[in-house]
Symmetry: C2
Subunit: 454 residues, 2 copies
């Protein structure tokens, strides 16, 4: 008898909350966005709720396109690997997922940092691979222009190959620690990558042992065509944004259907849409919270957020008018799937710029669920049992309250229904997610030939 | 009445010990080099000993020039910022100094990581700025050749300017958290760097608030001519290697003498030579420990270490013969000052290759002190009171034992003599070191003109 299929939960900690007005919300600890004690409390709350992982987004620029928005929004947060490393010391079970861009980093450093975090945390590291959607980032890295979308994905694919290759520099049992015979490492188990590609030349080997999990868990968020293909080949979790059950089901079938051609099975990739829950003791209380948050959105901050999500500057247009004519998808060099989603939403519902930014100022294109803990559990269950999701990345509107409410009221309901764990079953993130530990490339027949050994 | 001048102590944690044979030494926890619990114990021991800071070296390659040495030496360790972030969560006072190279990194990332660590640790971060001396690192970063020594220093200087500029992106009081009036940040206190230089084009601003310490403490280790000049202009600690009191005094006077032309005072820069202490209850026991360590050095590992320290391959030469003719200093593209130091040492004492590697296999060119806790305290005091050092970076031969002995036996002796603190006096690393907190560039008259404000 197999156990009932379990859903997976991520705690997406955008501080001090996902809603663009979160920092103005009563009780939100807005001044604590750089304080370790704040994050420690959040991490321990998520672990109390048996979440699979903490999830941190990242970006490499303060956008100055909308000067007023700078004063009205939270532009400063800790770098995710630094923060998650600190949190690894005060948690025991919860996974630690950091966003790191392949567009503005070097694979050697990225491989090394995640390998280090995986060792120090006892096998809890995950890498959310992004290609960066904000053109302002280029200007902080000696570049005049943001790399084109298609080139970013080419680079990302090669980047990932180099990183996983470097993680396999040493076989799992390479280290002997044999004091008597002076053998610290068995060098026949050291593999030098010697990668020479289009984007990178990286000799290796890595100066960190193979990670506890073999490879830290690989997460991707892109839902564009190249994003889906890269995910089907390499990702173990997809974090994605869908508004309706039908869209989510379509995406789920589409991506899962691409796995077989890469020799992967249905369970090797978990699809976890984002969910932005506004929780009330009654549905009315939840709706009041939502209205309160919308009321607190500073206008420039709303326009700025919407403009960045659709990669198009809306500031010249009347805020109570419709969206202007937007460029064709081919011209968009930001997040392509988010562009389409928001454009379709505005058209479908005939939203003005203001109505649209109010609509997305919390969930940012992800699914918003407003209601009681029971209603929220119902909606999560609906997607989970109907082939739309393997789990969810939970995006609390404000912190710490929004996470605490989820842990104290929604999680117990999911547990009652037998949909979610009551205790952590494994020791690594991979164990808890039900993902296989990858065999070392030199010991698996598939890719042994591509490895040059010393 | 001013307090007696206090010496500063760093705990240089090269795991599982500085001696190249440390991992073979009895009781050394060689298998723990990637375990958090091991580092936690070391960090808490250093904090119990009131050390100013933990200090971690770093490198970006496994050298494969000496194949046997790979199996005989410790080639894998955690990345320092990842590790120190984790340690920040289990310590309260001790500073956290990470080595990061300016040759293979981007200033935006480096500024951000140290700013993050400084916030998360409550003002305990320090950056040991190095330019990398190992040519093998280039091959892991898309380069065929290591950058020339002089160019590395040019790049380092500009890199440091960019990083300190980014740390000043926000004034100290830029963040208001004013929920009522929707002012998270006062944008008149945001400064965009707009750096365009020879090596870097970085717009800024940084997406982290100004660090708790203003700027994390800047450490340098270079003792070459360009190294000294860069340090005199920008460093707050110099970590340096000298064998004799006279050399150390000369260096101390030389560097301190260069401060005035940069508008800096004598106390703005602390000079901390490395010290490798082998501690015994008797002098005889200490000498036996040293002999035991020398006996445990695998020959290839010894030759490999020496070759890398002098940037010259000694493997073709008879190990019991003299050093071969070495290149002129101008041709050396590794660590120039270390090259000179070792060459002079071999000549002065007529050492064979084997004798020289035995001699440096622990201290690696730093000062070795073998004796009782009293003898070690005497020798530290001698340099400290005679204008050769403001403190010391302590390099335990093996871990955890070598650090525990220092904390339990040498520190109390230094405290008895009134040379070292019995309690931490400040809350930040800067406070404890007696270093001024740098004023923001926009509020100090000196450099306000070089800042473009938004």
């Amino acid at each position: 008898m197999s156990e009932k299929r379990q859903l997976r939960l991520g705690a997406f900690l955008m501080t001090p909350g996902h809603h663009v007005a979160a920092w103005r919300y009563p009780d939100t600890e807005a001044s604590q966005v750089l304080s370790f004690s704040f994050y420690k409390k959040l991490a321990q709350t998520a672990e109390r709720g048996k979440f699979d992982m903490l999830f941190l987004a990242d970006g490499y620029a303060v956008s100055e396109k909308f000067p007023e928005a700078i004063s009205q929004t939270v532009t400063v947060r800790p770098e995710p690997i630094t923060l998650l490393s600190a949190l690894s010391a005060v948690t025991e079970h919860v996974g630690l997922a950091a966003t790191v861009s392949t567009t503005y980093n070097e694979p050697f450093h990225v491989a090394r940092k995640f390998a280090s975090l995986d060792h120090l945390s006892g096998g809890r590291a995950a890498w959310n691979v992004v290609t960066s959607a904000n053109p302002a980032e280029a200007l902080n890295f000696n570049k005049d222009n943001h790399l084109l979308h298609s080139l970013r994905y080419e680079r990302a694919e090669e980047f990932l190959n180099v990183v996983t290759g470097l993680w396999d520099s040493w076989e799992d049992d390479a280290f002997q620690y044999d004091k008597e015979n002076a053998v610290f490492a068995d060098r026949s188990k050291l593999h030098t990558l010697n990668h020479k590609g289009e984007w990178f030349t990286v000799r290796g080997p890595l100066n960190v042992a193979r990670p506890v999990q073999g490879h830290p868990v690989v997460i991707q968020a892109g839902s564009s065509e190249p994003g889906k293909e890269l995910a089907a080949r390499t990702a173990e979790i997809i974090f994605t944004a869908w508004q309706t059950l039908e869209e989510a089901q379509y995406f789920y079938r589409d991506v899962k259907g691409r796995l077989a051609k890469y020799g992967r099975s249905h369970d090797d990739l978990k699809i976890m849409p984002g969910v932005f829950p506004i929780i009330g003791r009654t549905e009315e209380e939840a709706r009041e919270k939502k209205a309160k948050l919308e009321e607190l959105i500073p206008q420039e901050a709303g326009i700025s957020l919407l403009s960045s999500l659709i990669s198009f500057d809306l500031s010249p247009y009347p805020v109570d008018g419709p969206l202007p004519d937007l460029p064709e998808l081919e011209q968009v060099n930001g997040g392509k799937s988010r562009f389409t989603l928001l454009k379709d939403l505005a058209e479908r519902e005939g939203l003005t710029i203001r109505k649209l930014y109010q609509r997305i100022a919390g969930a940012r294109g992800h699914r918003e669920i407003v209601g009681t803990p029971l209603q929220i559990a119902d909606q999560l269950e609906e997607w989970f049992v109907n082939g739309a999701a393997d789990g969810f990345n939970i995006m609390p509107p404000y912190l710490p309250g929004g996470l605490e409410d989820f842990v104290d009221h929604v999680v117990p309901e999911l547990q009652r229904r037998g949909l979610f764990r009551t205790e952590y079953s494994g020791t690594t993130l991979r164990d808890n997610l039900g993902l296989k530990r990858p065999a070392h490339s030199a010991t698996s027949t598939v890719s042994a030939l591509s490895q040059a050994s010393v």
